[in-house]
Symmetry: C2
Subunit: 287 residues, 2 copies
């Protein structure tokens, strides 16, 4: 649950968190299953919203106590200042996957401690497309564990600062090559308002950001990108460039929808036709 202040306004104890942003975004492309822990103060309306989006909640753990809370303030649109983090019931969370989750087509390890990401990876049966997100906090504090996760997934999501911090390189292209040498098939370098670049050993794909008139709240944009991306990939057998391109474009569209409103309000109740229309515009603007 997030308390967020941006130049466009603020919200208190609003629905948030990587898993929820990712699940709602992904729900437009495949049935989504979510793993996480909630306190008893989590609003029932949040669970109803996930269910309306067809999200399977079997992997949610409900614990006596308060839900994880984050509070941040955006002075500009690029970076939030963290005002407060309360782990609460998340403090001793150990992700345990229901049996029905272990044979998924596509797994997104959203941004948490890399040790927890590794615990989830151990529970997944082979055959799924695996992806991880992370953040500078983990890259700085436990780089070896992040490397371990990176070496075991097919797709890595990082922003420009993160690929540079993780590799010590000063340009994103040599940084991406170094990450690819650890094992992943694709690195997706996110560049905020400048879009993203998907890189594999032999291929590259540049996508612009979808132009947004009034940004209200950038929180969760990366999670929405990754959620839509991986949910779309659940329909692809191999991670060929054409699939990655579509995944990037859908990720871009959902991220742009997300930043136009606070909390998850930008990504709920959308329809697939609208999403496809935005994706077609992105293609038109780059062709």
């Amino acid at each position: 649950m997030d308390t967020i202040s941006t130049p466009a306004g603020e919200v208190v104890d609003a629905l948030g968190g990587s898993a929820i942003y990712g699940a709602l975004s992904g729900s437009y492309f495949c049935p989504v299953k979510i793993v996480g822990v909630l306190g008893t103060d989590f609003p029932v309306s949040g669970l109803e919203l996930l269910q309306q989006h067809g999200v399977n909640l079997d992997g949610l753990d409900f614990k006596e106590g308060k839900t994880f809370r984050w509070s941040g303030k955006y002075h500009n649109w690029n970076k939030a200042e963290t005002l407060n983090t309360e782990l609460n019931v998340f403090a001793d969370f150990a992700p345990l996957l229901p049996c029905s989750y272990k044979t998924c087509n596509s797994l997104l390890l959203a941004n948490i401690h890399p040790e927890l990401q590794l615990q989830v990876l151990k529970q997944i049966e082979t055959g799924a497309h695996l992806a991880c997100d992370t953040m500078n906090y983990w890259i700085n504090r436990c780089p070896e564990e992040v490397s371990k996760v990176v070496s075991r997934v097919d797709v890595v999501f990082m922003n420009e600062d993160e690929v540079k911090a993780f590799t010590g390189r000063t340009d994103i292209f040599s940084a991406a090559r170094e990450i690819l040498s650890l094992g992943p098939q694709w690195v997706i370098v996110k560049r905020g308002e400048y879009g993203s670049v998907a890189l594999s050993k032999n291929e590259m794909y540049f996508a612009p950001a979808y132009p947004v008139k009034n940004v209200k709240d950038p929180t969760g944009a990366g999670d929405c990108f990754a959620g839509a991306f991986m949910a779309y990939l659940s329909n692809c057998k191999e991670l060929k460039r054409a699939c990655i391109k579509n995944a990037v474009l859908y990720g871009t569209v959902l991220a742009s929808m997300n930043v136009q409103d606070f909390s998850v309000n930008g990504i709920i109740g959308r329809n697939k036709a609208q999403i496809d229309a935005d994706k077609e515009l992105l293609i038109r603007w780059t062709n």
Copy 2:
């Protein structure tokens, strides 16, 4: 003549200036004619180089005295700190076009005082594609004159900071719309390492930057972009989106070649096949 220091090295009294960067870049796409003033200290080798590139020098004015000099230092790759500017023979320059220049297909008003740009515009016969570049220095000091130039050209080249400063808007898309309302058909917003966006009233085209491993000297990148862009357009009757797209891509390729070496060394002695191959890669990476 430029004296430049970057994290990759330095050069003293090297060939430079918007007109020279633009002319050499443009020379790969059409015969170029150049207008400007030089002091008697200007090296003959510089004139030879322009002639080797087929550049017509009839519009060059040679004056007793020293050539214009600029000296700058790049602490990072995005922005130069001006250490020194000596106007020298440029101080009382009034551009006078030879008769053979007045019926060109394509005119680039490179970055100088907007009053001088207006003087050139008055000498051009109708029918040419007209474009202007500028910089924050002029936008801040003589915004009305810049507006006058902008309202009389077909294509405006500005970077992100410049479109924002010129319009007072905080996002490039509404800034571009405001600039278009003054008259131009296209605004080309340059975003450095993030590429560029071409915008008209009803169309948009996003291009990435060409990835460069070792940047040595960013000086003149914008001039190379604009020079290649306008020289390519001299072959186009109307400024349709397909022409603008090609112009942007050629501009991008020449700008990327330029930053890989000091002074004009990155853009001389190239061949068209190499330029076309780089352009095709840009298309492949965005398709």
